[in-house]
């Protein structure tokens, strides 16, 4: 495994639109980039991969003027450039979708798409009608049906991601950079996105594509650059690399260590013979859900399938009491949980790992330790005073068990990589010793290593008797990870797949609402 097999010789300079020379960048003591030579050619889709915290996003931010490098040069179209701010890069022709959705929630979809370059009428004022019209056309071409005049913040994360794509597309760019654009997208939207990407490539645009869903790389990308701990460890054609080698490069381990079976790290199915611990029935959320029911047994993993906006997030949030529900009951081990109260749900033994890590999960300024212990403070306190030593012990246990990488438990959680932030949140919920764990996209945006850790963790938890509800936009994860998959469409349960039915093909058909297959009679309240 040669750690520096960069193809600096092949086709050098030919068609290269964007390149870096020995870029280094550090944040305080963290060396995010250590001498990266990245080359992007026009008309190629270039994958950028690496573990969480490998420096992918940092590289992108250096390329686009968000950060200035500590040393090294960025060249665009052969000329050295030093973009002082993202606006400069954008004006130069680099269009970027950053990792976290970076749009303005309080503005309408159309406004978000055209912010900064709104169509004008002859008085030089914004032509609202035209802007809305063009935005609607653009959004429609991406296969999304939304009112472009609605506030962006009211839409699900996935839709927001598509809006970001629409925005990036609407610029006439020479380089398009996409930092994990697919992490919250459904198969169908992913396909749309790929279509768009290929069209752009064929027009000679250079694309950078970051994803932790490795299969997508071979499907879409021409070449790949692998980063590890801020170093560039490999650059080459995508086709020359097999999955295992790629992972080995990423993780810096031997091939043998990596070699495991299956697409995911889930184990076999679990026992199905016990009484359900969670029974939710008749859940109504105005405008979102109609009569949704769910039942989960201890030790069982129930998947929630559905398209973008089908109401999966709403379902788990309503069960957890985080979303006011108009009707419906939630019972844990037979006793009802008070409606619309997170506190009661928590005490009854429900935990929810929410989809939006940034907005609903981490407390950025607090330490890893305080983030983990947040939900269980009363248990570790006497007379309102926090017992530090007991918390330290607890945190140490979980940091070790989940392999949380942080310089110390006192490190602010905002400094952690996405995957580690996710693990911190999982640790927070496991501390509460839940009976039911609702996981909304638990592997979103985390690297293969972390992902398999999280997956086997879920498996392990289920083995230990935890009831798990798993939402995932990745087909494999649902099919392999869940014992049953409940399919939602437009806020209602339409099908349930269990046992033999649990195949990708069946799931796909169910998601699309295949009329051939009647809705399974057994779904609803009793699961």
């Amino acid at each position: 495994m040669s750690s520096s097999s960069s193809d600096t010789t092949s086709g050098d300079g030919v068609g290269v639109v964007l390149e870096t020379e020995v870029i280094t960048k550090s944040f305080g003591g963290v060396h995010a980039l250590r001498g990266v030579d990245f080359r992007l050619r026009g008309g190629e889709i270039h994958a950028l991969v690496g573990e969480n915290g490998a420096g992918k996003s940092t590289l992108i931010k250096v390329l686009t003027g968000v950060h200035s490098p500590d040393s090294g040069t960025v060249r665009f179209a052969g000329e050295p450039v030093a973009f002082a701010r993202p606006a400069d890069a954008q004006r130069a022709g680099i269009s970027t979708i950053y990792q976290e959705v970076n749009l303005v929630p309080l503005l309408s979809v159309a406004r978000n798409i055209f912010l900064g370059r709104e169509p004008r009428n002859r008085f030089g004022l914004i032509d609202l009608a035209r802007m809305n019209r063009e935005a609607a056309a653009l959004v429609e071409s991406l296969g999304i049906e939304i009112d472009v005049r609605a506030d962006l913040g009211r839409l699900g994360l996935g839709v927001q991601q598509m809006v970001a794509l629409a925005r990036a597309m609407s610029v006439d760019a020479r380089v398009v950079i996409m930092d994990e654009p697919t992490s919250s997208l459904e198969a169908k939207e992913v396909a749309t996105l790929f279509g768009v990407a290929r069209t752009l490539r064929d027009r000679g645009v250079g694309l950078v594509f970051v994803s932790h869903r490795l299969d997508e790389l071979w499907e879409l990308c021409d070449r790949v650059t692998i980063l590890r701990d801020g170093r560039q460890v490999h650059t080459g054609a995508m086709a020359d690399l097999d999955r295992l080698t790629l992972i080995a490069h990423m993780l810096g381990r031997d091939l043998e260590e990596v070699r495991r079976g299956g697409a995911t790290d889930f184990g076999e199915t679990h026992r199905q013979d016990r009484e359900p611990v969670l029974v939710a029935a008749g859940i109504e959320v105005r405008g979102k859900l109609q009569d949704v029911g769910l039942a989960v047994r201890p030790g069982e993993v129930v998947g929630l399938g559905g398209l973008l906006g089908s109401g999966r997030t709403e379902t788990v949030q309503a069960v957890y009491g985080a979303l006011p529900r108009q009707a419906g009951t939630v019972r844990i081990e037979g006793s009802p949980v008070r409606t619309n109260s997170v506190g009661h749900a928590l005490r009854a033994g429900i935990a929810l790992l929410s989809e939006d890590r940034k907005a609903e999960g981490i407390i950025p300024e607090l330490s890893v330790r305080d983030n983990i212990a947040l939900a269980v403070l009363p248990r570790f306190s006497r007379l309102g005073l926090v017992s530090e030593s007991r918390i330290d012990a607890l945190v140490a246990t979980f940091m070790a068990r989940l392999h949380i990488k942080a310089s110390s438990p006192a490190q602010p959680v905002r400094e952690l990589s996405g995957g580690n932030q996710q693990k911190v949140l999982i640790a927070r919920w496991l501390c509460t010793e839940p009976k039911v764990f609702l996981l909304d996209e638990p592997t979103r945006g985390i690297d293969v290593g972390a992902k398999s850790e999280v997956q086997s963790l879920i498996d392990e938890l289920a083995e230990q008797g935890l009831a798990v509800v798993l939402i995932s936009s990745e087909m494999d994860e649902l099919v392999e990870g869940a014992d049953r998959v409940v399919v939602l469409r437009d806020g209602a349960v339409t099908r349930e797949l269990s046992g033999e039915q649990r195949t990708s093909a069946a799931l796909l058909a169910a998601l699309a609402g295949d009329p051939e297959r009647p809705v399974d009679e057994t779904t609803g309240g009793q699961g």
Partner: protein, 369 residues
């Protein structure tokens, strides 16, 4: 393709901003060897250290300047006087720091002080203790109203407390009427007495500081407060009693403001509902922010707040010591305040987007890089 492409020719000129006064400087090569850990007795005395501890540095500087240029500055009396005078502001600032930690703000503190002071003469007939208890209770009630408006109704803190500030001052004037002298020995003793040579007022401020520091660092309440200030929605989803914590915080802030009002009344032996605590909210907020607590919430710096309050006090004192006319005094004060905050917040520049952290810290609630 704009002019930005021609901006620089060499690798070094591509990073113009990282050098100027930046402690970390450019890292030329990827250092593989980790830096040897710095022994704790040798703190980094570099620009970054100065920035993180800006308020203390500024305070030390001002003391030094005064020692050199101000006659009679180096005396027990001066020190004592500054401590006495800063005490009420500090107490208010500590409550304010808690509120700011929740991403809120409390403009009503001055009115609460006036209200508390106005109540004392009315209840002085029942004895000093009862009168002060009533005053403190009034502070709690006002705080509870502010807290409920913020936490239950969802009114923005600055507006809720602005309304309370106007109405509260009116109520204080209504019940207090004209300025009244307070001659009750218990109250007078509170304002002027000493314990082991240390004025009660200073002791009380010290005790409050300690209590607030302890609450922030060691209690569930403090942990929850920081979590709510850092990311309210996440705190809600983590099952924290968000409303209760918010209301408690405003109650504590009101209580401390009332305490400060009572102390001021005791010290001046009078209750003046019209003037007492006028504009103190601004001094308190300034002290908190100069002390390094961001207005964006999620953090509370108690020691910084103490230093911030002392710094503000010393600025005022210095200007009076040198008999600077009001006009110049205000201008000087403005410049010092900005300079102090600049030093404090100008830290950790990562690139050309100078101060992006500080700016967004002030506007958008949850930010992660």
């Amino acid at each position: 393709m704009t002019d930005s492409t021609q901006a620089s020719g060499s690798p070094t000129s591509a990073t113009p901003d990282t050098k100027a006064g930046d402690a970390d400087g450019p890292t030329p090569a990827p250092p593989d060897v980790p830096e040897p850990p710095r022994p704790w007795w040798r703190p980094r005395l570099d620009a970054d250290w100065v920035r993180r501890n800006g308020v203390f540095v500024a305070l030390a500087l001002l003391v030094l300047i005064n020692v050199i240029i101000t006659p009679n500055f180096v005396s027990e009396g001066t020190l004592r006087l500054q401590l006495i005078q800063v005490a009420p502001v500090l107490i208010v600032a500590l409550g304010m720091a808690l509120v700011i930690g929740t991403q809120g703000i409390d403009l009503s503190v001055g009115a609460v002080m006036a209200l508390a002071a106005a109540l004392i003469p009315l209840y002085i007939g029942y004895g000093a203790a009862i009168a002060i208890l009533v005053a403190l209770l009034a502070g709690c009630i006002t705080g509870a109203i502010a807290g409920s408006l913020v936490a239950r109704v969802g009114v923005q803190p600055i507006v809720a407390t602005l309304g309370l500030m106007v109405a509260g001052r009116g109520v204080a004037n209504l019940i207090g009427g004209e300025i009244k002298s307070i001659r009750e020995p218990g109250i007078v003793a509170l304002g002027t007495g000493n314990l082991l040579g240390i004025p009660y007022v200073v002791l009380i401020a010290a005790a409050v500081s300690l209590a607030v520091w302890f609450a922030v660092r060691r209690t569930i309440y403090g942990r929850r407060l920081l979590a709510i200030g850092g990311n309210k929605r996440a705190a809600e989803l983590a099952g924290l009693p968000v409303r209760r914590v918010l209301i408690t915080t405003y109650v504590v802030c009101g209580l401390l403001a009332a305490l400060a009002g009572a102390l001021l009344a005791a010290r001046s032996q009078a209750s003046d509902p019209t003037r007492l605590g006028l504009l103190i909210e601004l001094s308190a907020i300034t002290a908190v922010v100069i002390g390094g607590t961001p207005l964006s919430g999620g953090q509370v710096r108690v020691v910084g707040t103490i230093a911030g309050a002392l710094l503000m006090q010393l600025i005022t004192a210095t200007l009076i010591f040198h008999d600077i006319p009001d006009s110049t005094a205000q201008i000087v004060q403005a410049v010092i305040v900005v300079a102090a905050v600049y030093v404090q917040l100008g830290r950790r520049k990562t690139g050309p987007r100078k101060g992006a952290t500080a700016t967004k810290a002030n506007t958008s609630p949850a930010v992660t890089p």
